[in-house]
């Protein structure tokens, strides 16, 4: 079961799991049907890769708005797979490198993985790996081409591999032809009101009666933003109340919560 899996996070192997763990800073909670469905399907792919003879390479893209939980989901799949080789490729470890150094690092991870019977590679935030900005648009074609080829190149005989990509710029990847290069794509959504309520209940920082109002005020907010919002509101309007709230002694004032929500949301419009 999904939630069960979310809890029993066992390290697959040494250091690398640490990296994966760091991807789900706020843990994994039940946040609605869609997230659960995607997790289950992805675990089916994990199994397919384990037993397949005809498809040594399976690729899967998780796309959705910023903060919707894609990276945490991919990391969880990696951890739960129990595969001997699970690695995340992220722009964070390649800051300031030239395009060709980044390419070399990416290729290196694939070459390493080819040596393992079963492997998972997470291409995290593909638009960032590609150095994408909407103005222009600009991006690294060298890295694009590298990914396009790696997503189709078969591992050596007898080795099977799952590649999981994440992105919040699916339209851009579509126009590069990178979406088509994935076997299957799942959309990871923001939270609807019911999902948000579940998450807020788990956090236990609102008075019982306020939870519905709070959840209603959040229209389609992504998970990660919700965690930040709650923590900001927990400081209270004059500061200092965070500890009392997290220890359960106090609750977040709904009015202050609305204020902070306004700061975060209104600017954009």
């Amino acid at each position: 079961d999904f939630l069960y899996a979310l809890q029993e996070i066992v390290p697959a192997f040494g250091a690398s799991t640490d990296d994966l763990e760091r991807c789900r800073l706020n843990g994994m909670v039940d946040c609605g049907e869609r997230h659960k469905h995607i997790y289950q399907r992805a675990m089916l792919l994990v199994e397919q890769v384990k037993v397949s003879k005809g498809s040594p390479l399976v690729t899967c893209l998780l796309e959705g708005p910023s903060g919707s939980g894609k990276t945490a989901m991919a990391a969880t799949i990696g951890i739960d797979s129990d595969f001997p080789y699970v690695k995340i490729i992220s722009a964070e470890t390649m800051i300031g490198l030239s395009e060709s150094s980044k390419c070399a690092q990416i290729v290196k991870v694939f070459e390493d993985a080819y040596k393992s019977q079963l492997s998972i590679i997470i291409l995290d935030d593909i638009e960032r790996l590609l150095e994408y900005v909407a103005i222009g648009p600009r991006f690294s074609n060298l890295i694009s081409q590298t990914l396009l080829v790696l997503l189709k190149r078969l591992p050596p005989k007898g080795k099977n591999m799952l590649v999981i990509g994440t992105t919040s710029e699916v339209g851009f990847l579509e126009s590069l032809g990178i979406c088509d290069a994935f076997s299957v794509t799942y959309h990871v959504p923001t939270l609807d009101q019911a999902d948000a309520k579940k998450v807020l209940q788990g956090l236990n920082v609102f008075a019982e009666d306020d939870i519905d109002l709070a959840a209603e005020a959040l229209h389609d907010m992504p998970l990660k933003k919700l965690y930040m919002l709650v923590e900001m509101a927990a400081q209270g309007s004059t500061g200092g109340s965070a500890e009392a709230i997290y220890s359960g002694k106090e609750k977040i004032s709904l009015n202050h919560f609305y204020d902070i929500l306004g700061d975060i949301v209104s600017i954009r419009h």
Copy 2:
């Protein structure tokens, strides 16, 4: 005969055949008239090159949607030709190289081939060799120019050569003038319902009664995607059923098949 040829795959010479074999991971099956027709015409070109005095260079382009079977077809022609020199030029072996190194490698293969009385060169996925992306569009003009010249340059006296190109971006090649540089172009299509049925029957993973429904649900799917789809469906909705299905003990549930098909197709629209 086409199917006969498909079966009796004999290595033309040592190592290289291995590369070609790897291009048809799912073997070669009868998948309709159009594929058969193209194969036959291409084999006529092989013969023309063998006997020609006036045209030492014949060039042929296979274009069609991603996964329609172009590379497997080209590899099969190469293998079946029994020519002493058959080589595939693919972006997979040139990841991360500079444009000019790629150029040099491509030219090298042609120079090597010129030493053989009869040779076949497969330019696989030409848009990838050209580092093409639709945004811009961007591509390597250095490599474009190299191909444009190589596709017209005659081998030395007494040497004959067949060049087979493949692409799923025929519109792009058209606007580069690369299509015009080929003597002849064939369109490799996706599968219509009848073709798909033939392939599914060969795979023998559906109950007799379900085959027509399954084939009907696949509108114009390319061969390669069909193989991936079947394997995904074969895991069953809770996993673990692949072995039973491939050994013939169980059949794929049509409902689960529709589900998986939905995952793969719906996102795009």
Copy 3:
């Protein structure tokens, strides 16, 4: 209280405070509700960073017209935080450097900050760090990508960080996706008539009766421009009156003030 905080500026640590002090050449005065509100909210973020366990990285953007007081505000927050590591990253210290050297310097500041339990980094005038000009537009994508990653990358376990950005080109940052990368954004406005009056009163260079007229003539002028205007007007129409005015012996002639205001404003239209 805001104004109190503005006055009791105590150095957090050695040399660096000097840099921050230099950012508020004209001191910090009360210039209206909005400025006060932003200051208070930012100080709540400072506190959140001090106590947070779930959000080791909080980021906040101050955007508003040129001269509205963003840099002085950010510097004041840095000074008032009493954090052991407070650093301003500004284009002024990186003139003429290559994009990659600038990148390296920026990354260096972050790496240094990661060693401190609590740190504040001010990214001053982000559009200038990005070498932005509207024509094109042109900008450094290398630096953009670096900021996009740094604004999301978590400090090591146990270290907490606040990043404050300033910009007068919020539309540009929006289209780069840099705005979305900040947890929260505040708009720092120009002065309305009441705010301007407050500032003029504090300066004490106009006759009592002239202050309202002077304040009325300034439509939505930014703070910094107002200081420059007053100093230009204080020279008098034939020069030499500055000392008398600042020592309180004379007042600025309203007519001359209008003249100078005309020079500064009219050209633009």
Copy 4:
């Protein structure tokens, strides 16, 4: 007379004639009035260069669709001129070179020619020398500028030179100003029905009664394509008939000819 000239191809001097000969792989046959007219006019220019005092440099451009016979025509003029220096500059011998190396090679040929009293330089496929592709368009401005200057620069006193250019992208050359740099331009056309009939008669591979029908089916086909088409058709629908047909024992089946023609032509539309 034109045809006579076509036959009595005598080498002007050693190795280089070989290169020129290789440009007319299918020999030179009578293929209509326009081709003949251009040849005669070009031979008048050859004579003018031989006797001129006032125009040490004459330049002539042959433009027309791909395969219409431009290169073979230029080579024939070079061979028939009996000039001591005749050289073809072609992209084929400069694959993969940098723009500036290509430039240097081109300039070198001109410098060599300047040493000869009478010289002909053929700039073959100028768009290819310029690395032109329609997308963008892209091309080498370094080489463009070099040609623009070389086409106007006078040889040293006492030396006379004829430059013949060929291109199938006259519109592009026009917009570069390269057309204007030539003294005169001739359009080399595709074959009309009467011209095609003449060529087919010469080849003697159709039954008497079929020739008109075959010629009629070819609408404005360029010469070179016609030769390829005939050779493809000569293999027969099941292969193996080429020898019988070229030795005159059999004739090409009109139906098979139509089929092959369809393969070659239909794709484009």
Copy 5:
């Protein structure tokens, strides 16, 4: 008084004044109210910089059509300031340098000036420093960014600086954001009829009765062009009369003057 100031040009210090003097080849004459007004305001800024404590950096832009007298005006202000450090930064001394060398030279001048208690830097013809051309437009962003930063960076404590920029492409500077970076901008106009008459009277090369007609024929001509026009006309229609005219023995023929004026003006339309 303005004109008085114009006459008593005393060197501020050694060699550099020579450079400044060379900027007013035709001396400084009274050419109307606007020029006089700008000069006076600029001299007030000089005084402000001398006494200011709150604004160590004052910046002023002179913009206007080509030849209207901007450079001569800026040079005159520099000379009349009697500041110990006065330097003109001009593209003339940086021909052919790379962008980064130019940058370095510009920065060097500022660094030198920072050592002086009082300094003036003239950024002459800013669009030329920026390597601007309208086609594209193209310009050096490296130098743009350098100027944008230098125009805001404060000199060290206790040092005051005035920066005077000149440009005839104010629209371009506006769109770069460089105009906004200046504290104040003045428009230096062409000559109206009355101004032109004053200048012609000073030159004393027309008959008394012709001066009005001549001045009328010059619609909004810039100063520098007027000097060139008069000198061309002074040669007379057959040459040789210049000496007689400048020595006052002859006057310029009005008809010949009209002719020459036509040559200079008509072409543009």
Copy 6:
């Protein structure tokens, strides 16, 4: 008188005159009023430079269609000036050089000229110096900036200089701001019917009665093209008649002349 001047071409100094002479391969003949007028005005500028004190630098642009006689005119002015330093800067001597080498060469010529009391520099075919092509358009901004500065930079005290530019792309120079940088611009036209008749009479290759018809057939042809046309026609339709015609024994057949004219002109439309 103009024609007289045209004849008495005396070398100003050694080798360089040779270069200038080579610019008027077909000599200088009377070809109408406009050419004469421009020559006279330009000679007035030569005189102005000789005697001027106030304008050490005079600049003049000759613009007009390709082949209209601009270079020959500029060379003639240079030769007739008798100035100690006369130099032509042309793309012909800088083929294949990098932009910065070209820049250096151009600057070198100016630096050399600054050493001479009186000098003339001819910037021939400025669009070619700038590596201009209409597509894009593309051009060297480095060289553009260099010319823009050199056309305004004053020679050292006591040295006077005349710069003559030529171009057939005046619209392009206009948009670069290079036209405005010249003191005066003259348009060098093609030949009208009367002018063409004069030139043909001088050549004496037509029968008396044919001259008018021939001149009429040439609509606005540039001089240089006319010379080429006549020489082509002089070969006769079967070749070999050139000698007879130039020696006056035969005349050009009007019909053949029309034919050749058709070849040259019709293609363009």
